[in-house]
């Protein structure tokens, strides 16, 4: 496993139509991971990809 497996925490589905368990990452651990690992591991090859599932463009939600 290329990444620290301790970040994985199986949770029960919050959507009943999803049969499988989904692994999650704690926001604080993600922040730590990104701060420490991006420059070393993912920087050049873009090995980390985020998928944003929010609606709209968020322009009306800006503080």
């Amino acid at each position: 496993m290329p990444l620290d497996a301790t970040v994985i925490q199986p949770i029960a589905s919050t959507w009943r139509d999803i049969p499988e368990q989904l692994s999650t990452i704690n926001p604080a651990k993600l922040k730590t991971l990104m701060n420490k690992e991006v420059s070393k591991k993912f920087d050049e090859k873009s090995k980390i990809v985020f998928v944003d599932c929010q609606s709209g463009n968020g322009e009306d939600s800006l503080a």
């Binding site: 499988e20 993600l30 980390i48 985020f50 944003d52 599932c53």
Partner: protein, 132 residues
């Protein structure tokens, strides 16, 4: 009959004074730089959106499949992003839809609490397009 439970409330559209759904409230205004944007209003359209935005676009699908780590998130990561994540996992694990570029050591994770929990950590600029 539609049953509403407390955990669904943050993800439902709010109703403004015109009685029409205010879709913009479903977006926190925060986004991680470089994220693939699905523009998903509800998990009921997740299969269609997943096919239109990810599965049908080879560049996007291959980018996801070859990544070492894929993180899905939405506002609070309770319904929309888990749904898309589920469809993604089903697609890449099924032999008929698994691309040759699929990284078998890939880690697919859901950002716990979504971008709301992430920005609550503090120390981030209060503007759109934050970067970790």
């Amino acid at each position: 009959m539609v049953r509403i439970v407390w955990r669904d409330l943050p993800y439902m559209w709010s109703i403004n004074c015109t009685g029409l759904p205010n879709i913009a409230t479903d977006n926190t205004g925060k986004q991680i730089v470089g994220a693939i944007h699905m523009d998903l209003m509800a998990n009921i359209v997740a299969p269609t959106k997943f096919n239109d935005v990810i599965r049908s676009v080879p560049a996007v699908y291959n980018k996801l499949c070859s990544a070492e780590l894929v993180v899905f998130y939405c506002s609070v990561a309770a319904t929309r992003s888990p749904a898309v994540m589920s469809y993604y996992k089903r697609a890449v694990l099924a032999p008929e839809t698994q691309p040759a570029t699929y990284n078998k050591d890939q880690l697919v994770l859901l950002l716990e609490g979504g971008v709301t929990a992430y920005t609550a950590l503090g120390g981030l600029p209060n503007r759109k397009y934050i970067l970790l």
